[in-house]
């Protein structure tokens, strides 16, 4: 029994460490990638004992700076909500990872260990539920600061998340129809099959339109550029305005973590090669990491390429562009399933 508890603990620990450390590392990746794209060098001055290691110590320096900064609280702010808000957004950002599978079942010493923090048969719904709850943190933050601009920023964030999450939910329906399950592990297993004997039945192959819609809406839901209207540096200062110190770090983590889900979600699983079981599992985990990395690269590429949407443009894209297209995708998928008969699984 103790061993079982330990295994569960280990799974949760692995996922949390993966997500948190990647979140810290991504700050560095983002700075360096944007610098290289813009013919710059990027932050490279933080050093420990004279070693700079391409600026890799900057996330550590940032963390120290944010932790030691004054935790400013506006005089008229709602103390309870103001303190709670960043924890809410980070909490839901983190628990959303719980049902993301990072590999197939691992068999060790007669035990079957699913490589997933929690095995849920409605994993897809769970992930979207948690991500949608994350918007409460943003709204709380906007409300609790007792500042009109912060409130405006929080409202924009909420509107943006709702308009994009409709499209996320509707575009994922096509995937659920194809693979016939709400269990993320089953969906991933379904993608291990081959179409026409050579083409892997990955989500991007069977649902190309849904992939583009999901990617776009996923970027919008993370509120990163070009959808960063809630922050809108040049227009309003936004809900960051009164979050300082640790709370800012949590908020930065708060929107770095969610779009990881959007990546890891669309490209999970891996190929099955005749290898020892442990190697297969390691390869699967490795493939998962590589796919997540590639998607992060693409999202950062988009973030540093496109200018920001104006607020009304982002709304129009969400409601008049992504949403109808994802409904169309559902119809097309249904028609295709009807015509060509059944699912690949």
């Amino acid at each position: 029994v103790i061993l079982d508890v330990g295994i569960v603990f280990g799974r949760v620990f692995f996922v949390i460490m993966f997500v948190l450390n990647l979140g810290g590392l991504l700050g560095w990746v983002e700075r360096k990638q944007s610098a290289i794209m813009q013919d710059r060098i990027g932050a490279n001055r933080a050093s420990i004992l004279g070693f700079r290691v391409m600026g890799l110590f900057h996330p550590i320096a940032d963390a120290i700076k944010l932790l030691t900064k004054e935790d400013f609280r506006p005089a008229r702010a709602d103390r309870f909500l103001f303190t709670l808000a960043p924890f809410v957004s980070v909490f839901f950002g983190l628990v959303a990872f719980a049902s993301i599978p990072f590999g197939d079942t691992l068999r060790l010493a007669g035990r079957e260990i699913p490589l997933q923090a929690i095995t849920l048969n409605v994993g897809v719904l769970y992930v979207f539920a948690m991500l949608s709850l994350g918007v409460y943190g943003v709204m709380m933050a906007g409300w609790a600061s007792a500042n009109n601009y912060a409130l405006l920023g929080g409202q924009r964030a909420a509107a943006l998340m709702i308009s994009s999450e409709i499209a996320i939910g509707a575009s994922i329906v096509g995937v659920i129809m194809i693979y016939g399950s709400l269990n993320m592990q089953d969906i991933v297993r379904g993608q291990g099959q081959l179409l026409f004997g050579w083409l892997p039945a990955w989500g991007i192959v069977t649902q190309p339109l849904a992939f583009i819609l999901f990617l776009t809406a996923g970027i919008a839901a993370t509120k990163r550029a070009p959808f960063d209207t809630p922050e809108g540096e040049s227009e309003i200062i936004g809900y960051f305005v009164e979050y300082s110190g640790m709370t800012t770090a949590l908020f930065l983590g708060g929107w770095q973590v969610p779009w990881l889900v959007a990546d890891g979600f669309h490209f999970p699983g891996g190929a099955i090669v005749a290898l020892p079981h442990l190697a297969v599992v390691l390869l699967q985990v490795g493939a998962f990491v590589v796919k997540v990395s590639v998607m992060i690269f693409v999202m950062m590429l988009v973030r540093w390429t496109l200018p920001r949407f104006r607020y009304d443009q982002a709304m129009r894209l969400g409601w008049l562009g992504l949403f109808p297209l994802s409904i169309l995708n559902i119809v097309l998928t249904g028609a295709a399933l009807l015509l060509f008969g059944g699912r690949p699984s």
Partner: protein, 179 residues
């Protein structure tokens, strides 16, 4: 607006091709640089304190007072620069020069760099070519306004910019600095 622009997706792809082109080209140069190809530069950044861009020879930088062969200032305290200065940042007190052939020299020659606008009129006005702005020194700063006042002996100690474009003198700490 063209149809492709309205659709937006094609335009996004076009933009991403440009930015990722920069990324991969610069990344290749960075890797070549790390592998020993020192002439490959992946960025246009000048790493400032270690590297400097060459300055124009006409650059007006920190002033200096030119010395005679015996080390005394070439300045004859004629007050031309003090008079022409639009910022009123020069303050001169004249005294006798020990050499009877030379009429005067400055006992005090203070420049308040907190007020100076670097117009170069003092250099233009000087009949003795005694003040120049060719030290190449740009990094002078202070925690107090008093610290921005550079006095005669500090200004006399400065050298013209070196042939390599780097300042020949270190950034001076004026005697008036109190911090």
């Amino acid at each position: 607006v063209r149809l492709t622009q309205r659709f937006y997706l094609a335009e996004i792809v076009e933009g991403i091709v440009i930015t990722s082109g920069h990324f991969f080209r610069n990344m290749g140069k960075h890797i070549a640089h790390a592998l020993g190809r020192r002439d490959a530069r992946g960025a246009v950044t000048i790493q400032y304190p270690e590297e400097r861009r060459p300055y124009s020879p006409r650059l007006r930088s920190l002033h200096r007072l030119v010395r005679r062969e015996d080390g005394s200032p070439r300045c004859v305290a004629c007050m031309m620069c003090e008079t022409v200065c639009p910022a009123h940042c020069i303050y001169i007190v004249a005294t006798e020069h020990p050499n009877p052939e030379i009429e005067k020299m400055p006992e005090r020659f203070d420049i308040d760099l907190g007020k100076c606008v670097f117009c170069g009129y003092c250099v233009e006005a000087c009949p003795e070519d005694a003040i120049r702005m060719d030290t190449g020194i740009l990094e002078f700063s202070s925690y107090s306004r008093r610290g921005m006042i550079y006095t005669r002996d500090v200004l006399l100690s400065l050298e013209p910019v070196g042939a390599d474009g780097r300042p020949a003198s270190p950034v001076p700490i004026p005697a008036s600095r109190t911090v």
